[in-house]
């Protein structure tokens, strides 16, 4: 603060910055956010369980063991020992301990994702599917409520849609640089989402999460019969399964960045705003 460097008494009217609690997130956004957190966590871990039943991904209308997989997690047995290998295109990574072979009750065992990443921790495709579909329903209903309410209340238009000036390359570059330096808006500017927040939230809410639903539905033979167009959009069930995996990976990347940003930009303030709805911003002492 510039006021702090001034000799005391020279500017008697200069008051220190004070905090003001402002309403930030509506009750509906807070509720749907935390339901989404629950659903996403469980869907991710049960999804890893389901993936483990066949840890290979393909493009096209068919894909099984004899077909080319663009990604595969292989468990190579050699006598009593097992090695984990990740194949990604033409690349090969040794992943023993994490992918393909990981500790299961003390001993290395053949499994795609490790037990601490799957629900249940042991191999059980039937249970994994049961959990996945239950929380997929909850996730879809929750998402529909969020999207409809956001449209009707004009929350998206008011808070998420970037303005033209925000989308100017110069402004975007400036935001990227300040974010990289972990400098976050203060005062008036902190009242609104910055443009990087707007773009990433819109990408998640309007692109990635809906894609998760659509690619998930495309894996259902019943849905495919009713809506052949799903197969046309995604280029086949194996392609949809690959895209489901890719979108889930992008969502994990988003969540990692999101949590880091929550931590470094004032963790208690951020958490409070998503729980009670109140967000503190610093305003000048004499500002009303």
């Amino acid at each position: 603060m510039t006021t702090a460097r001034m000799p005391s008494g020279t500017i008697p009217r200069a008051a220190p910055a004070r905090k003001q609690l402002l309403p930030r997130h509506s009750a509906l956004v807070r509720l749907t956010h935390w339901i989404n957190v629950l659903c996403f966590s469980l869907l991710l871990m049960t999804g890893a369980q389901i993936f483990n039943a066949h840890p290979r991904l393909y493009w096209g209308e068919y894909g099984a063991d004899n077909d080319h997989a663009w990604l595969s997690i292989d468990s190579l047995q050699n006598g009593s020992s097992v090695r984990g290998v990740l194949h990604l295109g033409s690349l090969t990574f040794e992943t023993t301990g994490l992918l393909g072979a990981s500790k299961d009750e003390g001993a290395l065992a053949a499994r795609g994702f490790p037990s601490w990443l799957t629900i249940p921790s042991y191999q059980d495709l039937a249970a994994g599917r049961r959990w996945h579909f239950f929380f997929a329903w909850l996730f879809a209903i929750n998402g529909a409520v969020y999207l409809i309410a956001g449209l009707v209340s004009r929350h998206f238009r008011r808070d998420l849609l970037p303005t033209t000036s925000e989308l100017a390359p110069k402004h975007l570059a400036h935001e990227v640089v300040t974010h990289a330096k972990l400098q976050f808006p203060k005062g008036e500017a902190a009242r609104r989402y910055n443009v990087l927040q707007k773009l990433s939230y819109m990408g998640v809410a309007f692109v990635l999460l809906p894609l998760m639903v659509l690619t998930g539905l495309t894996m259902s033979p019943g849905m495919d019969s009713a809506f052949h167009v799903l197969l046309d959009i995604f280029g086949g069930r194996p392609s949809a399964r690959s895209l489901h995996f890719i979108c889930a990976s992008l969502l994990v990347a988003f969540v990692v960045v999101h949590i880091v940003m929550v931590l470094v930009s004032g963790v208690w303030n951020n958490l409070r705003s998503m729980i009670t709805g109140k967000y503190a911003i610093e305003v000048d002492g004499d500002a009303q």
Partner: protein, 269 residues
């Protein structure tokens, strides 16, 4: 000894200790959470709640499938170069071995239960009936897919030949293969579908695959194709079709070999 190293080591100790403590804490919390998840998975009340989603799935898919849309059919050039065989590859019984040796001439498909005219049909009789050929995608519950060409008798024809009695709701397929222990000690594979799927035009009893007699690994001489559900519903080595008002009297009571092992009866997803 290099004093710098010692100094460094001394300075690192508290960090290492804290890091070790944090790692142990995270691992402990993680395994607690995981153990909690495993306990939740094995809790019957939670399990019953989760199974309610299956009813929701069935109800909503019935809604969109009530007008019997066809599963996508592909062209010859879309066929999987190798169609993976799964589950049983070769029934173990002496009877099956004899039937196979005799090229299934003595094999019969029995149709009984809630039918007006129980049937015992030879392979030749089935092949003489009007057939349907379709190139469709087979989706395994594990996540892989394969495209194959199937030729067989629409199940509806066989059911109409036998004539359904009032009260008929399910069609149960009894198979010749033994995939594991079952409650009735026969160990035989079985499956069940309801009449909506039984009368779907693409639901066929296939005796040919990719232009040849159905291979043993794929269920010779006869397997079910029910194109809007997953692979475990596509019963292989079918030798008896039972029409019934319920399936709860069979084995684990869940309507199929894999259903008795926790998989959904409705496998449309």
């Amino acid at each position: 000894m290099n004093p710098n190293v010692k100094f460094k080591a001394d300075r690192m100790t508290p960090f290492q200790a804290r890091r070790k403590w944090l790692t142990a804490f995270a691992a402990g919390a993680g395994s607690l959470a995981l153990a909690g998840c495993d306990r939740a998975v094995n809790n019957p009340r939670i399990d019953a709640t989760l199974r309610s989603a299956e009813k929701l799935t069935l109800a909503s898919q019935r809604l969109i499938l009530q007008h019997q849309p066809l599963a996508k059919e592909y062209g010859e050039r879309d066929l999987s170069p190798v169609f993976r065989a799964n589950g049983s590859m070769m029934p173990q019984s002496k009877e099956y071995a004899q039937l196979l040796q005799g090229k299934f001439v003595d094999w019969r498909l029995k149709v009984d239960g809630l039918v007006a005219r129980p049937q015992s049909l030879s392979l030749a009789e089935l092949k003489a009936m009007k057939s349907r050929t379709q190139i469709t995608r087979h989706d395994c519950v594990e996540g892989w897919s394969a495209i194959g060409k199937w030729q067989g008798v629409p199940l509806s024809q066989v059911l109409d030949l036998a004539g359904l009695k009032p009260g008929a709701r399910y069609v149960i397929f009894h198979c010749a293969d033994n995939l594991g222990e079952t409650a009735d000690d026969s160990g035989l594979y079985y499956e069940s579908i309801d009449l909506l799927d039984a009368y779907h035009p693409q639901t066929i009893l296939a005796y040919m695959m990719n232009g040849q007699d159905l291979p043993v690994a794929h269920g010779a001489p006869l397997r079910l194709r029910i194109e809007r559900q997953l692979g475990y519903k596509q019963a292989k080595y079918v030798n008896r079709i039972e029409v019934a008002d319920a399936y709860s009297h069979l084995n684990g009571g869940k309507g199929g070999f894999w259903e008795d092992r926790g998989y959904e009866w409705y496998a449309g997803i």
